[in-house]
Symmetry: C2
């Protein structure tokens, strides 16, 4: 029997050990452009390490996942952070694990709202993109450069995620 | 009488002198995540210069502009690029000018689609965010760091932009 993972709402506080939530907050406002625009400043800071590395912007177009989902692997990027901002106006799932002696611990599953991006900090275990319901686009800020920036881990016993209720 | 500016469709080719168009293209695809995700790779490369500078991610929440719009100024950022990706699924206007001896030349107005972001290259004259119709959010990748990264220019004779037809 697979162990079933509960789905939590995505909040800045709950997600803090893993990264940033990229969303408008009352305390992040600076008014600019003659008062026509709220700038929500520095909600995340992409981090890349290594000589010759740079931040790049990409779009990921993700197929929707099917449920119940069998979560059998996690990955992490030792050389850079990776952010996801939803462009299609739909919620999605965010799955992260604390590191336990170089391998992912028990995963936590967050339901991210349509207006919430996330930035995984460097070396944080996470599951690849999990779009919901239909094909969805995301803007990604991550790293390009030399070196191996991908580490994967496969669980002996997969976890199970039920279809989230809207 | 103000000179009226025509509105052009936003294409990668037309915008090339000013920056990047951040959108999915057939030739930008790399399949990842076990075939579930198209990665449209490196659609833009944020550029920041100066010691202690870094790329940051922000959300800009822009009020809609009113038309006819009197375009009386342009700005540029000498120390970094600035990208805008629409999060609200709505078109917007992009206004840029070639540089002419340190001041903006005749502006060009592009109608960006709901799925098109732009990345203004460093030092490219552009008008501040022009949302259309309703309050819209954009994800911005730009620069934080020491130094003056804003130059503004005010036209003696403003230009006029008519309301774009959808």
């Amino acid at each position: 029997m697979s162990e079933r993972l509960a789905i939590e709402p995505l909040t800045r506080e709950a997600f803090a050990p893993f990264g940033d939530v990229i969303e408008c907050r009352a305390d992040s406002i600076r008014m600019i452009n003659g008062g026509t625009t709220e700038r929500h400043h520095a909600l995340a800071r992409p981090e890349v390490v290594g000589e010759g590395a740079s931040v790049i912007l990409n779009i990921f177009r993700g197929q929707p996942r099917r449920f119940p989902y069998s979560l059998d692997m996690m990955e992490r990027h030792p050389l850079g952070s990776q952010s996801f901002s939803p462009l299609s106006g739909r919620p999605y799932l965010v799955v992260v694990s604390p590191d336990e002696d170089g391998r992912p611990g028990r995963p936590r599953v967050f339901l991210a709202g349509a207006h919430q991006g996330v930035n995984y900090h460097r070396n944080v275990w996470h599951h690849p993109l999990m779009a919901l319901g239909t094909v969805c686009d995301f803007l990604i800020a991550d790293r390009e450069g030399p070196g191996n920036n991908l580490e994967e881990f496969f669980f002996d016993n997969p976890y199970e995620i039920e279809e989230p209720t809207p």
